[in-house]
């Protein structure tokens, strides 16, 4: 039975040896020699050191192209012209599906063509030495960002290649990304990844791990996202991870976003072992963007303003070209600089928002209930708890494509634009908390003169890309101004 216990050394070794043969670059991986490479890097490229010692939110974009030279050029641009503090390397989709043969074809095609035939950097195909060329070529630390359910070989190659931060986790890279991987399978695979990070960490090379907070990116209630972060953090800590960055995706309500980030930090410190350093990352809006760069810049601006108030350790920025998919490097740098301007103008201001404490308290109580359900479902074992809780729907994620989650939970915004739960499914929440959600949604229904229904959910999903926060019924344009005048 799969349990939350540390993977034995010989087991780690055995799996690593098997994986080595999945693709030829696996054979280049030499742990001792990799430690020596990491030790040769300056402190300014140590991801955990840079992140954990920052005194203002650090900015990091997303970016990945197939070829090494172009990836270096792209990251250098984002570092120099965008002012990125931390750099990414986004991995291509074939690698995410462990289709290294197809990735190899795409890489070869990209080398012979001005177009990119892959949607990211196939790090396994590039192998250890090319990863190191990338790490050497840039000044800032670089993280592997991907979405790979089975990221074991990717971790072996990239960590040996000098990367010191690795995104993902068994739930957060399963539920939103795939349909049929079981949670038992991804948990087992991520135990290997986390144990590998732990092995580096024990040798003095701290590998930062970052569970993917936004999950499905679509109106995820903060308590659900935070519970998944805590569970993944606990699983990683068991395997020896000591630098954890817990994530949260902007929902667009200033008070709820600040409260959620504070709750995330506070609960992270409460649940995770004392020897783990917990940091937080705020993802700018992950839902649909307006098809208009000016309005998209507005969405990004609100993200920057929220970050200035909440002060997460890191912000993952969006670009004004988000709507059309992969942005140009110029647009990517624009998103960084718009975010930076908001943070720089606001961060020294004393901004004391009313209602944060109440919202934070509600988020923490709700998260506690979900965590209790996980512990109960596993009779104390987190792995069994996660499997059983997702199986029963006691823990659930809205809009999950995966069969591993019930996907019965449905969120909707309340009259203030905060994300509440409209349909609970079997989510393990006590009645008093359900009552709060229902009553807030009832307020909205009264304002709009309609019943609470899936229509609100559908309207809310499209609202921000339509230029609003709340999906109010159309034809009633008076609502915006009618709800309480601040003066």
């Amino acid at each position: 039975m799969l349990t939350d216990t540390r993977l034995a050394s010989d087991e780690l070794q055995r799996i690593a040896n098997e994986l080595r043969d999945n693709w030829h670059t696996g054979r280049e991986v030499d742990f001792e020699e990799a430690i020596a490479f990491h030790e040769s890097l300056p402190h300014s490229k140590e991801f955990a050191t840079v992140l954990e010692s920052a005194d203002a939110p650090l900015l990091q974009p997303r970016a990945g192209v197939p070829c090494l030279e172009e990836q270096i050029e792209l990251l250098r641009y984002l570092q120099d012209e965008g002012g990125a503090d931390l750099l990414p390397t986004t991995i291509d989709s074939y690698t995410r599906d462990n289709e290294y043969e197809k990735a190899e074809e795409g890489l070869a095609a990209s080398r012979n063509s001005p177009d990119n035939e892959l949607n990211g950097f196939p790090a396994v195909n590039h192998g250890v030495e090319d990863c190191r060329r990338l790490v050497r070529a840039l000044d800032a630390p670089i993280e592997v960002r991907h979405g790979t359910p089975d990221a074991r070989l990717l971790a072996m190659v990239t960590l040996a290649g000098g990367f010191q931060s690795f995104e993902g986790g068994p739930i957060s890279y399963n539920i939103p990304y795939t349909k049929e991987h079981s949670l038992a399978e991804t948990i087992e695979h991520w135990q290997f990844v986390d144990r590998l990070c732990g092995a580096y960490t024990e040798r003095g090379v701290t590998i930062n791990r970052e569970p993917f907070g936004p999950l499905t990116g679509t109106l995820v209630p903060p308590s659900i996202a935070i519970a998944v972060m805590l569970v993944e953090g606990l699983l990683a800590a068991t395997q020896g991870v000591r630098s954890l960055t817990l994530g949260y995706g902007q929902v667009g309500n200033l008070v709820q976003d600040v409260a959620a980030l504070r709750a995330l930090r506070s609960l992270g410190e409460e649940y995770l072992p004392d020897d783990v350093t917990v940091t937080t990352v705020f993802h700018e809006w992950m839902g649909g963007f307006p098809p208009d760069e000016a309005r998209a810049s507005g969405v990004i601006g609100l993200g920057g303003a929220t970050a200035a108030v909440a002060r997460p350790d890191k912000v993952i920025t969006k670009s004004p070209q988000e709507f059309q998919g992969v942005p140009t490097k110029e647009a990517n740098a624009s998103g960084l600089r718009t975010t930076r301007q908001l943070i720089d103008m606001l961060i020294e201001q004393d901004i004391d928002l009313g209602g944060i404490d109440d919202e934070q308290d509600l988020i923490e109580r709700t998260t506690h209930a979900l965590m209790d359900a996980v512990f109960d479902a596993g009779e104390g074992d987190v792995v069994q708890g996660v499997l059983n809780a997702f199986d029963s729907g006691a823990l659930d994620v809205p809009f999950a494509p995966s069969d591993a989650a019930k996907g019965a939970v449905l969120p909707a915004r309340d009259d203030d634009g905060r994300v509440r739960i409209f349909e609970f499914g079997d989510l393990a929440l006590p009645d008093d908390i359900k009552q709060i959600h229902a009553s807030r949604l009832g307020e909205r229904a009264r304002t709009e003169g309609r019943d609470e229904s899936f229509r609100m959910v559908a309207d809310d999903v499209d609202a921000i890309s339509d230029g609003k926060l709340i999906g109010r019924p159309t034809g009633d344009s008076d609502l915006a101004g009618g709800v309480g005048d601040a003066d």
Binding site: Y177, T178, K179, E180, T216, T218, P398, F399, A400, P401, D403, G407, L410, E423, S453, F454, R455, V457, A458, V461
Partner: protein, 146 residues
């Protein structure tokens, strides 16, 4: 007995929001819904329709490859001896084709109705009721009867 409707996203497409909301809407309207979820194959649709003795199959596609993914679908249904109502909806073509020609193409492939991505769930439900010749069971009417 409520009519059963099969729902799913065809091909390698992982867009889940639309069918999640549609499932809720159909359930609320009194249909029995079998939601196959994202990345469903033609075979899965056919098997589910047969197993559930479904009245309608609703195929969703949002990533622009609907035509390839639906090629031969109606032949499979026929082979399985199924005479079921079929709808398709979403972003059905990659290019800038006008929707009328897209609709025409999918009608020729055998779909009874073709919807664009802006369609409200209510519209699909109203069509289903008409096509399945269901009496509209308004909640009020039910209450009077019971």
């Amino acid at each position: 007995m409520p009519e059963t409707v099969i729902l799913g996203v065809i091909g390698s497409d992982a867009h889940v929001v639309g069918i999640t909301i549609l499932e809720q809407a159909l359930s609320a309207a009194g249909f029995e819904v079998e939601n196959l979820g994202v990345q469903s194959s033609q075979e899965e649709f056919v098997e589910a329709a047969k197993a559930e003795d479904a009245g309608a199959v609703l195929v969703s596609s949002l990533y622009g490859h609907a035509r390839q993914d639906c090629e031969g679908f109606h032949e499979r249904l026929e082979e399985a001896g199924l005479d079921v109502l079929t709808y398709v909806g979403g972003n059905l073509s990659v290019g800038q084709d006008d929707f009328e020609s897209t609709r025409e193409r999918f009608r020729e492939m055998g779909f009874d109705r073709v919807f664009d991505a802006e369609t409200d769930p209510e519209e699909a439900i109203a069509s289903l009721r008409r096509d399945l010749q269901l009496t509209t069971t308004e909640p009020e009417a039910v209450r009077v009867d019971s």
